[in-house]
């Protein structure tokens, strides 16, 4: 490199040939220090690079949508939680055996819930067109009040049964703390699928169809 220091201080720029310290240090400490440093600089740089490479990998690999999520309940009997219908009567999950049941955990103000609502309407239509084969669909309302929920459905459509989880039974039994979540339970009451965040009508219908065909 053709250095042309214009006003830089010579002491600052060429420490090794520095008239002050060069004489003193290069002769006596310099050699052992230098050889020590030389051996260290490159390996340390490589080591740091490896660690940061792992970090970059982590950042690049992470953050997937995490659609289908594991749960201890998967392929086990669903808990027999109960909730309350709009009219005050009791909804008992254990009595829904015999048909496919899809539970959608929701609050009126969660943005993904609003986003997925049109797909839910489409999904319910698709299932209804299958007749008795089709899955039953329930919204499990998490914290919204009756008025908020009514206003939500009045504004955005959807006419399936709505279940209020007033005693947090569903929330605690299913371990749902973040909405929306969609759970699929087969006719014998076994949990088959847990989906976190938004769902798509076609994908959900197809998945349930594939479960049916697999004879589950």
């Amino acid at each position: 490199m053709s250095d042309q220091p214009v006003s830089d201080h010579p002491v600052s720029d060429h420490p090794v040939s520095d008239p002050v310290s060069g004489e003193v240090f290069d002769v006596e400490v310099g050699d052992c220090g230098a050889s020590g440093k030389r051996r260290v600089a490159a390996p340390v740089a490589v080591l740091v690079a490896l660690v940061l490479g792992a970090l970059v990998f982590l950042l690049a690999a992470g953050g997937g949508e995490g659609d289908s999520a594991a749960t201890p309940l998967l392929n086990r009997l669903a808990p027999d939680s109960t909730g309350v219908y709009d009219d005050g009567s009791t909804f008992e999950l254990s009595r829904r055996k015999g048909s496919w049941v899809v539970l959608n955990f929701f609050t009126h103000d969660c943005i993904p819930c609003i986003l997925e609502h049109d797909d839910l309407i489409e999904f319910v239509d698709q299932q209804r067109s299958l007749g008795t084969e089709g899955a039953e669909f329930y919204s499990i309302v998490q914290v919204s009040t009756r008025e908020q929920t009514d206003a939500f459905f009045a504004e955005r459509g959807g006419d399936w049964p709505v279940v209020y989880d007033d005693d947090h039974e569903f929330q605690i039994d299913f371990g749902v703390n973040k909405v929306p979540e969609t759970w699929v339970i087969d006719p014998s009451g076994i949990v088959r699928l847990r989906l976190i965040s938004t769902v798509e009508a076609d994908t959900l219908s197809r998945t349930i169809q594939s479960f049916r065909e697999a004879g589950l």
């Binding site: 006003s7 002050v20 004489e23 003193v24 052992c32 914290v143 947090h168 929330q171 605690i172 909405v179």
Partner: protein
Amino acid sequence: MSLARTVKRWPAWALLVLVVVGFMAVGTTRDSGPRTEEQRIESISKRLACPTCVGESVFESRNPASQSIVEVIGVEVRRGELSDDEIIQRITAASEGKERLVPSASGIEALAWALPAAAFVIGVTGLAIAFRRWRDASQQLGAATDDDYALVAAAMAVHDAEAHDADDRDVAAETETHGGPQQS
């Protein structure tokens, strides 16, 4: 000055230590009473993440979803059967712990505790090793001789001739540069 010096001798320091220990003893043993239910709910809800709003604890969040979890905590606390950890365990069990704000001490989550400790140990050890090497190096150097001082004076004269326009350094003229010259 000498009075100030005398004051700063060890009896005054001993007094200081006594005072500090005394205040600490008063402050830390002060009885603030048994924890109320409300305090328990507060401390538990501070350790859980708000489910629908990322980043806030259930305690801070004014979101309904968090409020419902606070209610669940309240039910358990008033029932009074479970410990704080057990309540958290129960609330987060079904969700594989994703609402816990503090990593657990087992499995991969233990790394969150082990790595900071390791970083600290590495840092302190590194410092210790560095100072040891420096000490060895400076012992090899030995004390500055008259030749050294002459060398420095000569070098500084050259240095100043080159650099006198560039700086505004102190004009103190003492040359008591014990321990070798330095770059300034």
